[in-house]
Subunit: 277 residues, 2 copies
């Protein structure tokens, strides 16, 4: 399994990926899922992949070499949209080459990709690309994409990240989101690749591989859980069976008559139960 | 979709269920998924179901009437284990009756059940029952079960709930877990059924149906998100490129040399890119 998240902020882009791959629980490995395509001063693009590893690696190779009919490659594409289209084409070429053979062994052609970056003359852009080679772009109302084991780490991003979030805060949120995922799914694992891109730089701004010894991630892991627990403890306890005049945090007042769905026992049972009590 | 969670604490049991069902996004309804089987003073049992609604309702009907070869029903079973076994048998009978006809229309026989309660003379017990009628029981190391859309709301339970958690705190945690799920999946919806059972009572202790107007849930929804944001803001910002002597929250120090996986452009591209810059 995999967990990757990419965010598009006003200040730039944040990418975070884990590095665990597994084929069954007894075949677990570490593979980097984040790749950089960079020509400093001209373009900086990042691809993160989830799904079948052989497909992901073939796509990475294919997209770096692919030229379209009009002679463009991701190295010369005039826009991120065009680069995403070329990446989608690479996905389709790998599908054409491998899908049938995989299907013969009952293996689905299954890959999802986050692709983002900036090309000189354009703003930062972020895309999600599907197995069919089609893709969607992030915008201000939906400013991030996740692939792989996405659900555990989604609520915290939804509550915190907006386009105005700073790059460091977005990175902090991505790491908390990853922490929630690591705790809940053992097939997502360290080390993590974290890449930050400041809009306009046209080269990687910050990159770090985070392992067990990373001090900041260690702090996040211990502090977040601890503080969450304090907030939890600080929330008021529900008030049950409050009188109609009661104020505040009433979960159930005496004038609500809600009843659960009750399944009645057969007559003979209820009669004999009454007798025996 | 559905989200239900059941927790077994030292003090008793907590059950929370949403009430949305949908067959496609254009056929959304409200159905209660929590049912009570109760003979006050003798037994109190709760069943929550996720999956195909027609299957769930048939199981509810079937289990209330089913008698095993040895003459027991859930109304007379001497233990919760035996009651869970009878419920499993009801699942299998509905499977036998309906599965083939459903399969003819491409519909999978798909149901999952949380079942818990107390029978006089026993402690509280909590089970999860699968489509095949087999089941597992909660214990101190794994004190809760979720069915349906479980992942969004799992991290907060993992961080907070232990067997020693009070019933009110467990209910509070279940409501926060539900809030995270409601925010992330529109096919989980209000009203909620919340049932609390105090060990030894042998009757429902507290029950409330929570809708948009519920004051306590409203407080949870607004306060939790707000306070989470404060904790987030309070966490220190990562320190990049710290000198080797630097202390505290170092995400990346100058003496770490981690590099992303870089895909090199073909020779002709890198040469012409250099020229054009």
């Amino acid at each position: 399994m995999t967990y990757c998240v990419g965010m598009r902020l006003n200040d730039g882009l944040v990418f975070l990926s884990d590095s665990r791959t597994n084929a069954g629980v007894d075949q677990v490995g570490t593979f980097r899922k984040l790749s950089v395509f960079e020509i400093p001063g001209d373009r900086m693009m990042v691809m993160m992949t989830a799904g079948n590893l052989s497909i992901s690696q073939s796509i990475r190779q294919m997209v770096s070499e692919l030229k379209t009919e009009d002679g463009h490659s991701i190295w010369t594409a005039p826009s991120m949209y065009e680069a995403a289209r070329i990446l989608g084409q690479a996905v389709r070429q790998v599908h054409e080459r491998d899908a049938k053979a995989l299907a013969d062994f009952g293996i689905e052609f299954n890959v999802s990709i986050i692709f983002g970056g900036q090309i000189k003359g354009e703003r930062c852009r972020l895309f999600q690309i599907y197995s069919a080679g089609n893709f969607i772009e992030a915008h201000d109302e939906n400013t991030y994409f996740q692939i792989g084991e996405a659900k555990y780490g989604k609520p915290i991003i939804d509550r915190v990240v907006t386009p105005a979030t700073s790059l460091n805060d977005a990175a902090k949120c991505a790491l908390i989101s990853m922490d929630s995922t690591l705790r809940s799914n053992v097939s997502v694992g360290l080390p993590l690749d974290l890449l930050i891109y400041e809009s306009g730089k046209l080269a990687v701004s910050q990159f770090v591989t985070i392992d067990e010894r990373n001090e900041y991630f260690h702090m996040i892991r211990s502090t977040w859980g601890h503080q969450l627990k304090s907030v939890f403890d600080g929330l008021e306890t529900p008030v049950w069976n409050a009188t109609p005049e009661a104020q505040g945090n009433v979960l159930h007042s005496t004038n609500t008559s809600s009843q659960p769905v009750r399944v009645a026992p057969p007559c003979d049972v209820s009669a004999s139960a009454r007798d025996s009590i």
